[in-house]
Symmetry: C2
Subunit: 352 residues, 2 copies
Amino acid sequence: MNIEDIETPAVLVDCRIAEANLARAQAYADRHGLPLRPHIKTHKLPRFALRQVELGAIGITCQKIGEAEVMADAGLSDIFIPYNILGARKLARLAELHRRVTLSVTADSAETVAGYADAFRDADHPLAVLVECDTGARRCGVASPEEALQLARRIDAAPGLSFQGLMTYPPRNGAEQVNDWLARAKNLLLSEGLPPVRISSGGSPDLYSAAEVGVATEHRPGTYIYSDRMQVSFGLGTLDDCALTVVTTVVSHPTSDRVVLDAGSKALAADTCAEPGHGYITAYPEAVITGLSEEHAIVDVSRCARTPRIGEKVRVVPNHACVVSNLFDTVHLTADGETAEAVPVAARGRLQ
Amino acid sequence: MNIEDIETPAVLVDCRIAEANLARAQAYADRHGLPLRPHIKTHKLPRFALRQVELGAIGITCQKIGEAEVMADAGLSDIFIPYNILGARKLARLAELHRRVTLSVTADSAETVAGYADAFRDADHPLAVLVECDTGARRCGVASPEEALQLARRIDAAPGLSFQGLMTYPPRNGAEQVNDWLARAKNLLLSEGLPPVRISSGGSPDLYSAAEVGVATEHRPGTYIYSDRMQVSFGLGTLDDCALTVVTTVVSHPTSDRVVLDAGSKALAADTCAEPGHGYITAYPEAVITGLSEEHAIVDVSRCARTPRIGEKVRVVPNHACVVSNLFDTVHLTADGETAEAVPVAARGRLQ
C-alpha cells in the first residue's frame, strides 16, 4: 500500500535504514572477529532474524520460550535464551525446543540449575547452560567469579546438562570492568578444568566498543537494528539512523501552543530517556511531546516556527523501539519510502 | 485451570472484586441519578461490558473504532467514541458502525466536524456529535464556552449530523470548575436554541464525587472496575479493591537485598504513579520494584522481614491496570480464588 494510506497510529520501518544498521554492525563485528548473536526482541520478526544470520550472525537471542518457538518455526536453528527458566510447563516446552534447534540457556542459581537438570535428565543430548554473571548492571547474575565457578560445577555434574560458559548483560560504558570480571572468572574456571567455551556479552549502547571486552566470544545487540531515541542519547548513531517511526495523525489543535496526536502510551509506550518528552517528531524538531494518555500525545509546539495542521500525519521516533514493536500486531515495512508492506509481528506479546 | 498452574507472567482478575467495584459504582450512580457510561479501555472484554450494562449502565465508551467494532460484534448497542475521528478510512468504518449501533462521537475542531459532515452527508439518520470541552485537563477540547457554541452551530448546520451536547475529560479534583465551565456553556447553548441534551464527564479518580458536577447527564469511569495502584494513590478505594494482579515468578535472588521477577515492562508497563516503584507485591508489602527492563523486574527486598524464594509466585498490583490489559492476549478470570478461566482480551491492541 501507499505509505500515505496507512491508518494511524502505525509503525513504519524503513528497511533501508535497518539494513544499513545491520550491515554496519556486522562489518564492525567482522573487523574485530567478534561474532554477533542478535537479540530479536527489538523487531520480533522472523525475516529480520533470518537476515541477521544471512549477514553473518552465528545465531539469535530470544528472551522468552514463546519467542524462540516462533523463531524455530521460521527456520532459525541456533537460539540462545539468556534467562532463568523455571516451572514445569516452561521446562517441558524447553525440552521440546531442544529437540528442534541448537539451544542454550542461562542460570544464576542452584534452583534454576536443578530445574534444568531434572527436565533434561533423559535428554538425547545435553542442554548447554551458561552462568549469568552480574558484572555491574545489578540485574540478574551471580555476584562473583567464585560463585560462577560453584554454579559451573553444579551444571557440569548434571548428566543432562553441559557447562558452556558465561553470559552477562553489561553496565553501560563498563567494558574494562566487564572484561576484568569475566577474565577472572574464565581463569578460575580454566584452572578448575571447566573451560568456558562461550563468553557472551550484549547490548546496543556499547555495540561499537564491544571488542574492548576482549574475553567475550560473542555479542548480543538488540536495538541496533531499529535504534531509537534512547540509543541515540546513549551515543549510538543519530536520529537519521532510526529505522522505526510511529506514524500518527494530528487530531486536535486546541490552542496555539498545543497539538494532540492519535498516538498515546498504547502506541509510543511510557518509557522515558535522557531527552525531554516521549518521542521526536521528525518534521517538527522543536516540538516536545510533554504528556501521554493512552490514546493521545500532548505536544507543546510553542517553540515551532510553524505548527502542524489538524489531519496532518507526522512521524515520531519513539524513546524505546523494542516496546513499541510489542504494542502493534502489524508493522509496515518500506523499502522505497513510498510503498509499504504490512507484516504481522510474529513474536509480539510472547510473554511466557 | 488451577491458579497455581498459570504460566507466568500472567494477568489474573478476581471477578468478585471487579463485581463489587461495579456494583458500588452503580449504586452511587443510582443514588445520585447520574447514569454511567463505562469506558471499556480498562478491561477490553465484551463480558464485562455486557455486565456493566446489565447492572444499569446506559451504554459504553470506547476510545477507538476498532474497540467499538469488537463491542458491537458482542452485542453492545449504545457506544460513545469521545475522539476526534479523522481520515477517510476511519470515517468509512465509522459510517459502517453507525448502521449497526446507537453511535455518538466528539469533535473539538471545524476540521473534525467537516470530516463527519462529509462522511455522513447521505446517512439514513444523523450522527450524534458532542463538542469536546477543555475544562482544565489541557488535553483536547475547545478552550471556551463561546468556542463550544461555534462548533455546535457547525454541527447543527450539517445535514448528516446532530448536535447532542458536551463532553469533557475533567482535571482531577476539579468538580466545581468543571461544573462552572459546562454550566456556562449549557446556558449559552440554550440561549442560542441549541440545547445540549447530553453532558458527559468522566474518569475514575473522581468517580465518587462525580455527582458534584451537577450539570452532567452521564459519567464515564474506566479504571474503577479493576482499580490499580494509581487509582488508590488518587484516593479510590484501597489496594484490596484492586481486581487485576500480575502473577509473576521469582527467577533470581542474586543478593540478599535483591530479587528479580519474570515480569518486566512488557507485563507491568512503565507507567509511574505517586507511590514508589513499578507495582505493589501483595505478599511482600515492604518490597519495592525499583526497576524494569523488558522481561525483568528488579525488586529491593532489603526492608522485608522475609524474602521470597526462587520459583515462588507472587502477585503484583500494577501502577496502571488499563495498559497492562493491553499487553496480554489472554487474561485469567477467577471467581473463587482457586480456579481460573483463560479469556482472550478481545479488544486488545485495537489502535485504529
